[in-house]
């Protein structure tokens, strides 16, 4: 239990400033989107604004598209880059826990941090826009933003996977594959059309969540 606390504290020390920046970035962008929505809504009038939005399917929230990816990079890189420079991860693996457990404590920590950075902001955002937009618009908007959020989680897991991979040759190939996989999450889709893709994206995110098991194989054998 104590080892767990120490491990989590070590991760926190690495990531605290980057997580704070990520939280501010997330909240800042979402609140700015809301402020702009409110201003346009009030100046055009509800009738005209909603009718224009529905005719042209304007994505007033498109500023948020790559923010989850940015947050995943901030937290993922700040967490794993120190581990792989000088192979410092060896130090963590001397702790009296199974190697896979240590690695997964790190990954789960990152996942929880990512969740706490992104999701409360989205919930606040939903509450704010629901003041002006009816459910028939709010729900498709959230459905369109969901692939971006899943993309953030998937990107984080892929960063962990790639960082744990020892050979640079394979790291490069995995970076190429990750890029292609992530384009699925962040491509342009008209409002509401993303909902049919969500099951596949959830599967891919889940798979990327367990991918670190594969690249961290050498630690399982006791090799370092």
């Amino acid at each position: 239990m104590k080892t767990l606390k120490h491990l989590i504290y070590k991760e926190w020390l690495k990531t605290r400033w980057f997580a704070s920046i990520a939280l501010l970035l997330n909240l800042g962008v979402l609140i700015y989107i809301f402020i702009a929505l409110r201003s346009n809504f009030l100046s055009a009038g509800g009738t005209i604004y909603l009718s224009t939005l529905m005719t042209y399917k304007t994505q007033f929230f498109s500023l948020y598209r790559y923010i989850p990816l940015g947050i995943a990079l901030l937290i993922g890189l700040s967490q794993f880059v120190p581990e792989i420079t000088d192979k410092r991860i060896k130090l963590a693996l001397h702790l009296p826990l199974h190697n896979l457990q240590i690695i997964y404590i790190m990954v789960v920590y990152g996942f929880v941090l990512l969740f706490l950075t992104m999701i409360p902001g989205i919930l606040i955002f939903t509450g704010l826009i629901s003041v002006y937009l009816p459910a028939e618009i709010t729900i498709p908007v959230l459905q369109t933003m969901s692939p971006w959020l899943l993309g953030g989680f998937c990107a984080y897991f892929l960063i962990a996977t790639i960082a744990l991979e020892p050979a640079w040759k394979f790291r490069f190939l995995y970076i190429l594959i990750s890029y292609k996989v992530l384009t699925l999450f962040f491509m342009y889709l008209s409002i509401g059309n993303a909902v049919s893709l969500l099951p596949v994206l959830c599967l891919i995110t889940g798979l990327s969540g367990i991918a670190p098991v594969y690249t961290s194989y050498r630690f399982n054998k006791g090799q370092l």
Binding site: G46, T47, P134, V181, L189, N193
Partner: protein, 408 residues
């Protein structure tokens, strides 16, 4: 490697196969595809013939020649061809002074030209907002005006929403709900079809599919609700509403067969073979023509004013799948994964010909050789699975298996 890691590796290999199946065929096609020549077919109202043009121009090779002929094979010059299609080349013929005076006994003037309508029909299912403005149908104004509320139909029935306050208007909702119930409507609505913009000369209201699949017509006439149940014996997959004319809408059923809903509420099946469901339509006061282009042919159906078949012709289409480049592609890729437009789905398209089997076998042998060279035991189930994946997925499997290696 532990068993868990090996199983996860297999899933990663399948992910790799998926990514490659999305990327490589597209890369191949973009690199090697040559633009095929364009073939166009139109129906001439003057000579009642099908006029076909074949375009051999290619800006990249500076080639520039087009041939014109009709369905009997008779050749035409460019000018003769233009003269046969006055509705298509109106401006050109006017400048050359070759516009006909009459067509089919009708004087060829502005009024006749105004009857031309062109557009596209597709059975693509795409997201639409289930919130629409209900226009006043008989406002006395030349164009409908945007109303101050929006309506939706959920399990509570029809609800009118005030966008300014985001609140329901109870009186109006109650009054419309009564009319809907009286017409036999069962909430919630499955789908609402209409034209929610003011850019139309008349408002025809909305066509709504209720919970049971029945079709209703909803309008607001002088502030009072109007709801009419339209009897039908087809199951509606999607509808495309038309700007005012003799039609309310086109209807697609689940087999992509086209029907028309006319202004007297009759539903008529169009004598058109569905094909891939995508049609370019062009209508004037004499004929309505529907052109469907699919993999092997371009089919043009000509219907008269009553939507009965007047004439039909098909020509061979010249598209990518016939080119030598596509033939080579058949030997390479066992499948390709595409993303559908509208609601995004990832669809695997399997190669119907089995020509890729040779490449697969070759890659399988190469993989076995690599494994043997690395002193792997081929009878190990995971190695056999690797070989199996390469055998089935060909080049995708081969690359994926090597990218995610089985570590010792």
């Amino acid at each position: 490697m532990t068993l868990a890691a090996k199983i996860i590796r297999l899933f990663l290999v399948l992910l790799g196969v998926m990514v490659l199946a999305m990327t490589l065929p597209e890369l191949y096609r973009k690199n090697f595809e040559k633009r095929p020549g364009k073939k166009l077919i139109y129906y001439s109202e003057i000579s009642k013939n099908f006029m076909i043009s074949e375009d051999f121009s290619d800006t990249l090779t500076n080639e520039n020649h087009i041939i014109y002929y009709d369905q009997t094979g008779k050749r035409y010059t460019e000018r003769e061809y233009n003269r046969q299609l006055p509705f298509l080349y109106t401006r050109k013929l006017a400048l050359l002074g070759e516009l006909p005076d009459t067509i089919n006994g009708n004087k060829f003037d502005q009024q006749l030209i105004k009857t031309i309508k062109r557009g596209m029909l597709m059975p693509v299912s795409s997201f639409t907002f289930q919130l629409n403005p209900l226009f006043e149908s008989e406002s006395g104004k030349v164009r409908p005006e945007l109303p101050d509320d929006l309506f939706r139909i959920n399990h509570r029935g029809i609800e009118f929403l005030d966008p300014e306050t985001n609140k329901i208007l109870p009186e109006k909702s109650r009054s419309f709900n009564k009319t809907l119930k009286a017409a036999g409507f069962q909430s919630p609505a499955r789908n609402i079809y209409g034209i929610p913009s003011t850019l139309k000369s008349r408002d025809d209201g909305y066509f709504i599919i209720d919970q049971r699949g029945e079709l209703f017509h909803l309008k607001m006439i002088k502030g009072r609700p109007y709801c009419h149940h339209i009897p039908k014996n087809i199951s509606v997959s999607s509808m495309k509403c038309m700007v005012p004319g003799d039609l309310y809408a086109y209807i697609y059923d689940h087999q992509q067969q086209l029907y028309v809903l006319r202004t007297d509420y009759s539903i008529k099946k169009l004598p058109i073979r569905p094909g891939n469901g995508r049609f370019m339509y062009s209508s004037n006061c004499f004929y309505k023509s529907y052109k469907n282009t699919d993999n092997d042919s371009i089919r043009l159906y000509v219907l008269d004013a009553d939507y009965n078949l007047a004439d039909y012709h098909a020509i061979e289409a010249d598209n990518y799948s016939k080119s030598p480049v596509a033939q080579t592609e058949q030997y390479l890729f066992p499948l390709k994964i595409i993303l559908t437009p509208g609601y995004a789905h990832m669809i695997p398209l399997f190669n119907p010909f089995c020509r890729f089997i040779w490449l697969n076998m070759l890659l399988l042998i190469i993989l076995a050789a690599i494994k043997l060279q690395n002193h792997r035991k081929l009878y190990n189930p995971f190695n056999l699975l690797d070989l199996g994946i390469t055998g089935i997925f060909g080049i995708f499997g081969f690359i994926a298996v090597l990218i995610f290696p089985n570590r010792k």
